[in-house]
């Protein structure tokens, strides 16, 4: 209901009176409906992200009914606050092993090795004997039933009631410290991210070591050294196109050039070179933005003092552009960490149960490892994959957090 200022004597053509009022009301309603609708996409995007992350988190846990080859006993957290050998002692005691033998199992290196080859100390969020307890799991424990986190809460009492002797109910967190210390395995329970972690670390270090000088060098060249000629324009367009090339094409390039032509084989070296080329446009574009935003007054001051071009770049421009360049590097790392397809093509193996020994030995990286776990198509490996994904997403999220902080600091100093 709104009044309008007295309209001028209705000049021909303008709708007046009731019809005008209705027209205005309609415009208002359309406007309000539209405003409401535009919130929907953002809400949906946030909901999607939340569902995705929530799904990962719930997949990090599973309820398991396990037939234990050990004592099926669990031990309160307080009994062994640091886990490890203390738990082993409790377990062996529960099995009726006498004290002397317990000590020799733990002290004698050979016996120790054999014990830990078959057994593992794990912390469970919940067991049929109560929450937050240690257990010793045997590699050959049989999994009777596997239930997802949320349904498990509902079924818990039923599952506990149905436990037979020698069986226990565990709420197993798949992402624990041990996950990072174990290598890949055909057995979901013993699978871990260690090999992939090492592989990713080496690849990323290599990529950073190469991409920074090449990428920043290219950015410097384009911004400081070359005139705005056709050649420069061509280079720019070329880089923009490279940024849009699908990552799998970089994989094909790497396969042909690094793996086959240069005969690096399916090695870490090939992976490093391939990914470097892939992230180069990211670094160059971010670097150019950063260099462009260095005020020309700084450059003029430097030249005015008699500095050469390189001296100006090295001592004035780059230090000033450093935060922006750092942002580009961090974004490049975030991208490189998550790339799967190109690495599959250049030979990151799906199953590498041992640590890489040299630059040419078989290796794997985190996303490829995750991909192979998902492809195992089993309920247990699904949880292992979730653990790997949680790790990967956390790292990527942390990197984006770093970018956010750098950008906010940049805004503050600019303002």
């Amino acid at each position: 209901m709104s009044a309008a200022p007295q309209a001028p004597e209705a000049r021909g053509g303008w709708t007046v009176g009731e019809e005008a009022k209705r027209g205005r009301a309609r415009r208002r309603h359309v406007g309000r409906a539209f405003a409401a609708i535009t919130i929907v996409p953002v809400v949906l995007a946030v909901a999607f992200l939340a569902t995705l992350l929530g799904g990962i988190v719930t997949d990090l846990f599973s309820w398991q009914v396990v037939a234990s080859r050990n004592s099926a006993e669990s031990f309160a957290w307080r009994q062994a606050p640091f886990g490890g050998d203390a738990v082993v002692r409790l377990e062996l005691a529960a099995q009726g092993v006498d004290a002397a033998e317990i000590e020799s199992t733990l002290d004698d290196p050979e016996q120790r090795r054999r014990f830990f080859a078959r057994n593992r100390v794990e912390f469970m969020l919940y067991t049929d004997q109560g929450p937050f307890r240690w257990v010793v799991t045997n590699m050959r424990d049989r999994s009777i039933e596997l239930v997802d986190l949320i349904p498990g809460f509902a079924q818990r009492s039923d599952l506990e009631a149905a436990l037979e002797p020698g069986q226990r109910l565990l709420l197993n967190p798949w992402l624990d410290g041990g996950f990072f210390q174990r290598v890949a395995s055909r057995n979901a329970v013993s699978a871990g991210l260690k090999t992939a972690l090492v592989g990713t670390l080496i690849v990323i270090l290599g990529v950073v070591a190469l991409a920074i000088p090449i990428g920043v060098g290219t950015a410097v060249y384009l911004e400081e050294y070359v005139a705005k000629t056709r050649l420069a324009r061509l280079l720019e367009v070329n880089i923009a196109n490279l940024a849009g090339v699908p990552s799998i094409v970089y994989g094909i390039l790497g396969l042909s050039v690094f793996v086959r032509l240069m005969q690096f084989g399916p090695s870490l070296l090939a992976a490093i070179f391939t990914l470097t080329l892939l992230v180069l446009p990211v670094v160059v574009i971010a670097g150019r933005e950063a260099i462009k935003s260095v005020p020309s007054s700084l450059r003029e001051a430097s030249y005015g003092l008699g500095a050469t071009r390189w001296q100006t770049v090295w001592r004035v421009v780059l230090p000033s552009a450093a935060p922006g360049i750092a942002t580009g590097v961090v974004l490049a790392v975030a991208r490189a960490i998550g790339e799967t397809a190109p690495l599959l093509l250049v030979g990151a193996a799906a199953f590498v149960p041992y640590m890489p020994e040299g630059p040419f030995s078989p290796y794997t990286v985190i996303p490829v490892q995750i991909y192979s776990w998902i492809s195992e198509n089993s309920a247990e490996f699904r949880h292992v994959a979730a653990a790997g994904i949680a790790t990967l997403v956390s790292v990527v999220g942390a990197l984006y957090g770093v970018v956010f902080v750098i950008r906010r600091r940049l805004e503050r100093t600019r303002a």
Partner: protein, 309 residues
């Protein structure tokens, strides 16, 4: 001050030989780094072209383009690319149908309806969404989305383009929204003022002034999203399937170009065999499509960007 050799002493202001030499060397080094990007492009084109050329010595282009079967491993092999292209486009279409309206809507909200504070808080989350590795999206598509879709819609296979397309839509949403957002923010404030001054409501300012003015950027955003959707690998490999099929039904299992490339690379085809070369032919097709789309996007931006002085 006269040196024994009789040469004139260097003037204090004259060029220093070693400094200009080191500057020249540095310049050359920097040029070399820039040249790497050029070499990369040349290498990509060359590698794809060479193997594809070899491929087409054994397979006719006509068959490649018109045959509806892609069966490189059968005894009687067929090399028609259309099932792969169709599969790719099917997923990409669904992804665009989801990602473009949502991305554009998000951009409009962030640009015109959200306060600057809210905008600054939300944009990083969209960036994060864009940065999530695609293998994670693939996991989500296969293990969470597909069961839901199969429960809701009858006749959907375990591996289907619908799940992959839906999830991919959210993956490209940030691309559409951030490029569109930049484009809308670039519309000068004076145009908004003019429109408000004439008595336009916010809705009318958005639909009659801002979006038309930002149209080139929005089109470019859509094209970039299309390019990403076409070139994406992990979501489709995990969730859409690896069985080429010439179909328009999003419930059926298909294979995209990228899924085939992964399959071919991780399989054990002898190097140099025709079925191994097929990888390059498909890669070349993929590269050509995405490059064309990217070039069109750049042209669109260039052509319309001289709009407001």
């Amino acid at each position: 001050m006269t040196p024994a050799s009789g040469r004139a002493a260097p003037h204090a202001l004259s060029r220093r030989a070693n400094r200009s030499r080191s500057e020249a060397i540095i310049g050359a080094l920097l040029f070399a780094t820039a040249a790497i990007t050029v070499v990369t492009t040349v290498a990509v084109v060359f590698v794809l072209a060479e193997e594809t050329f070899q491929f087409f010595r054994e397979v006719s282009i006509v068959e490649f383009l018109t045959e509806r079967r892609w069966t490189p491993l059968f005894a009687e092999a067929h090399y028609g690319i259309s099932p792969l292209v169709l599969g790719t486009l099917l997923v990409a279409t669904i992804a665009l149908a989801v990602g473009v309206p949502l991305g554009l809507g998000a951009a409009i909200f962030l640009s015109e309806y959200a306060s600057p504070g809210l905008r600054r808080q939300l944009v990083p989350w969209l960036e994060l969404l864009a940065g999530i590795p695609t293998v994670v999206f693939g996991y989500f598509a296969l293990l969470t989305v597909t069961p839901v879709i199969r429960a809701l819609i009858p006749g959907v296979n375990l591996f289907n383009p619908l799940s992959a397309g839906l999830v991919m839509g959210f993956m490209i949403l940030p691309t559409v929204s951030s490029v569109s957002l930049d484009s809308m923010q670039a519309v000068p404030r004076s145009l908004r003022e003019a429109a408000y001054g004439l008595g336009a409501s916010r809705f009318e300012v958005v639909t009659r002034v801002i979006v038309p003015a930002a149209l080139s950027g929005i089109i470019a955003a859509v094209l970039l999203a299309l390019s990403r959707a076409v070139g994406e690998t992990m979501i489709v490999t995990l969730a859409a399937g690896q069985r080429p099929a010439f179909t328009f039904d999003p419930r059926e299992t298909i294979a995209t170009m990228t899924a085939f490339i992964v399959q071919a690379a991780t399989g054990d085809q002898p190097q140099g065999s025709l079925s191994a070369r097929a990888l390059y032919a498909v890669g070349a097709t993929l590269f050509t499509i995405t490059l064309s789309v990217n070039l069109i996007a750049q042209a669109v931006v260039r052509r319309f960007s001289e709009q407001y002085e």
